[in-house]
Subunit: 238 residues, 2 copies
Amino acid sequence: MRRKDREEPEFDINAIPGIAGRNVRSGAEIPQSVINRLPRYFRCLRELLNRDIVKVSSEQLSQAVDVTACQLRADMKYFGGLGQRGYGYNVMKLYNSISEVLGVGKKYTAVIVGAGNLGKALAQSRLFEQRGVWIKGVFDISKKKQGTTVADSEVSDVSAMRGFCRDNGIDIAVICCPSRSAEELYSLIEGTGVKGVWNFSPSELDPAVLGVPVVNICTGDSLMLLTHEMSLKENEKE
Amino acid sequence: MRRKDREEPEFDINAIPGIAGRNVRSGAEIPQSVINRLPRYFRCLRELLNRDIVKVSSEQLSQAVDVTACQLRADMKYFGGLGQRGYGYNVMKLYNSISEVLGVGKKYTAVIVGAGNLGKALAQSRLFEQRGVWIKGVFDISKKKQGTTVADSEVSDVSAMRGFCRDNGIDIAVICCPSRSAEELYSLIEGTGVKGVWNFSPSELDPAVLGVPVVNICTGDSLMLLTHEMSLKENEKE
DNA sequence: TAGATTGTTAATCGATTAACAATC
DNA sequence: TAGATTGTTAATCGATTAACAATC
């Protein structure tokens, strides 16, 4: 038990919307610190593949992804013996291994919930197709949006979402409504068989509620980390 | 002009005597691991303030942000003695200190580069106003977009961006073009006095190039972390 | 005071790094 | 073989945790 049980707090801090706990996953073979670096390795290896580069040394790759060569080799040990002493790593093999761990290459289906500017931006990007995710449906609360076409899908009312996800075995729900209504939409997903939630709304969603992986894109947090860095730099000068 | 405040009241840190700028030690001392948790503390404390909650214990706050109470208290030591034994922490004081470290509450100006769906989504969000950032101009390459109005600004050609930033002392450039052209736009910023770059394009930008803080939003990476978690969960079942 | 809760210490845990023997 | 580069070890560094004395 990580935390001790105490008396009831005088207010229920967990009832506050938009501040969801993040569940810390443990027990996986590959440490989270390594997993977090994999997307960068992935991108870099993809570039090398595009350039028909066959092999790469830990020294070269580590420079490209801005880690130490030591660290890169340490990370690679989780992928079995993909390197060859005196030679380096085979780009294709490494790319394939990392892709597999990241779950890229599998086929996923997704719905976009919220057909505003953000939803449209995501739908039109190549993010999904590049990673094996197919947009199968788009939903919005607004009657105005319904009937318009986004990402080759006709926008439907959110009331149809639950049924759609269940009937079509949808894997991922992409929540991109601009407001606090995200929590209601999130709860709608329960029992539909959706296996993951990608959340762009300003409310952080708690994975524990549905028991499926949730990745929250906390844009505001990132803006604050930028202003923090800017402050630091400003103070350095003085 | 700026929209009015809606849900969130804003607190003018500088209007509170004896708090701002006093009890925070130099930002350089605070480890990055702690800094990365501050935005979550910030959001939670803001919610508590909105509910007129005056004090909070490390136990309560730690539950809300999903860290251990120990860790929360350890983190707080970087903010001077804001807690009181047997009592807890004053929400307002803590909020103000964290705001200050994050550089929230200072006033910043920004331009949005790219007036597509993503640029419009950002411009229309409340992200900026909530953190003291004013959108002063919007730019796009496309002649079609030029002349339209986004976030109360008329969209101008990117050729005008350099001059605009220089003349108006713009602090932040928000890059939200959907393509690889981000690198060219990024290089345009050099010498304009822009102090930070917030990048939503698919190209990761290197802070070393301009020597200013850059925060890259790597949306694709985040999608892969989601599919990774989904894979893990899938494998657990077997 | 008595109860509550911080601030801090020391122990633990995990991640990174440097170095080099193994070996292609 | 000779040169190159991995895989791994041991050392270091930093972050987290548990426990409790300090003290409000």
